[in-house]
Amino acid sequence: MSGEVPDTPVAQVAARLLSNEPVGAYRHLVLDAAAVAAPARPGQFVAVAVGGDDTAHLLRRCFSIHRVDPAAGTVELVVADAGAGTHWLVGLRPGAAVDVVGPLGTPFPLPDEPTGCVLVGGGYGSAPLGWLAEQLRAAGSHVELVLGAATADRLFGVEAGRRTADAVSVTTDDGSAGTKGWVSDVLPEVIGRSSATTLYACGPMAMLRSVTDVAAAHRAVAHVAVEEAMACGIGICMTCVMPVVQDDGQTKMVRSCLEGPVFRGDAVRWEAFADGRCAVPADAVGAPVAAGGGGH
């Protein structure tokens, strides 16, 4: 809890929902939230209160910012109807008020010089990639997108990507669109042909790990946006931690809402993650000496 709190602006706003349209298996939400839109950068997220005034759901739900329009003051999200909270959210009608906190977390770091970039998205994880692609291309980088999902309807941003990026590759687990398989199956070829030095990825943990591996194999750097369960989104609860190697070489359990969600892929201790859990590596700072450890 030391020293890492950003001094960038963050706001809590009663945003008005301007539109809510289906897009494949997801819903595309546009919110009127100027104070969030203005400072936001790709990779950051918002934390949204769900369920209304008398809800039994206490915790905010986090969503990557799909894009913002600072001039219009809008913030856009792509939301999967996953459980009770998202179900409520995607059921809102335009005009409804939505309590939004943001922008939160670290953005994708942009390269100092134009370079070859590959942006990898899994499912709704591709939500922020179009916006990122635009910024990268505007700064002169070559940008290719690799978008994967379980099925065609769970792909997001393919059409828009074809307009924005230099090329788009698609994979689906079931082959219902693009190459049958995983993004990691096509990624080496894409990196190779575009001589990419920088990868950006957003999606499930397993995907982020394999993107990191492929990047390493190609001497590229991967910046990955993770998705850990978050109770607060603003750095005060310590629920969203993961083991990340620090500059001094030590592994710490760091808050992915504050020091992430974007991390360097090669700094994440992937081997600690298994079957929906993440263990504290034995060499992490302050790791329990014996089993147990206790206390809340």
Partner: protein, 315 residues
């Protein structure tokens, strides 16, 4: 306008609203949303001797009107705390109620000593002793489960911190809360903070295993407010009937609104902490303060006059 000031065993605070330990980190994070110096006190995350990684994840589960957490007391350790966090709190003018923890009574004492010897100690208005944490010497049972282990901690901490307002933070998961309160007060606590989380658990039904990395976790949020009100009621009531010596109670558990805070006050709390609600609304502690003030004004009450008022009005 209601007089909101409150006297917590000598620590006179301009108002009774506080953050709850572990629900506001150590100040900087929340300061983006509210002025932590405007609160009666800022309560820090329980700090232990050395740095602690805490437990693996998942560390939380949402439950109806509440949540479970198994953080495992992650923190930087007392040295980093007094070097970095406490001076920051001092620099913004916050009044710090520092929460300390330990795996045995000696660790509590050691943390207290290093705190006392630190440069920014002047920002400390009191110390909250989190005895609701596991005692390695006793099968990992929390200290606050037993009068003797609670007293052992308070005695050693008291020695290190003469004259500093000392609050023992109690667990509600006991058969007789008054017994534990009595032991803490006898051992040197100036007051009590009630309640810590209830022990709870959730199952991951996809994997048919415990959901939390720590298996069990602490239940908090509005769901537990009736238990907090009852705990405060029982202990304050024991003070009124002479079974316990009078001492200030800091209420905590499920406070989400000014009405909730007033429930705890009417049951006997002289100050109120807002924990989990801060995750829902980062401005909660400041908002609850405003709402409480309005409610007191509407009733023509000062804070001091409202403390324990429901006891007078019981048939």
């Amino acid at each position: 306008m209601a007089d909101l000031s409150t006297d917590l065993a000598g620590a006179v605070l301009p108002n009774p609203l506080m953050t709850a330990s572990g629900c506001a980190a150590n100040g900087r994070e929340l300061h983006r949303f509210l002025d932590v110096a405007g609160l009666g006190a800022f309560v820090t995350k329980s700090v232990m001797r050395g740095p602690r990684s805490g437990r693996g994840t998942p560390r939380m589960a949402e439950t109806p009107s509440g949540m479970l957490n198994s953080i495992g007391l992650q923190g930087p350790g007392i040295d980093a705390f007094v070097e970095d966090d406490l001076p920051w709190l001092a620099s913004v003018g916050a009044r710090a109620l520092v929460s300390i923890a330990g795996s045995d009574a000696e660790e509590f004492a050691e943390v207290a000593r290093r705190l006392r010897d630190s440069e920014a100690f002047s920002a400390v208005v009191g110390v909250e002793v989190n005895i609701s944490c596991p005692n390695v010497a006793n099968r990992g049972l929390v200290f606050a489960c037993q009068p003797d282990s609670s007293a052992a901690v308070l005695t050693l901490v008291r020695e290190q911190l003469p004259g500093v307002p000392l609050f023992a933070k109690l667990s509600p998961d006991v058969t007789d809360l008054v017994l534990i309160a009595e032991a803490c007060l006898a051992a040197g606590a100036d007051g009590l903070t009630m309640v810590n989380t209830l022990l709870g658990m959730a199952i991951d039904l996809d994997r048919m295993r415990p959901h939390l990395g720590g298996v069990t976790g602490g239940l908090s949020g509005p769901a537990i407010r009736p238990v907090a009100v009852r705990a405060i009621w029982q202990v304050h009531g024991a003070m009124l009937t002479g079974r316990l010596r009078p001492a200030p109670i800091i209420g905590v558990g499920g406070v989400h609104s000014g009405r909730d805070a007033l429930e705890l006050v009417a049951a006997g709390a002289s100050a109120v902490q807002v924990g989990t609600a801060t995750f829902h609304d980062p401005t909660s502690p400041a908002r609850v303060l405003r709402e409480l003030e309005t409610l007191l004004d509407e009733r023509g009450l000062d804070l001091a006059g409202a403390v324990g008022l429901a006891h007078e009005r019981t048939a």
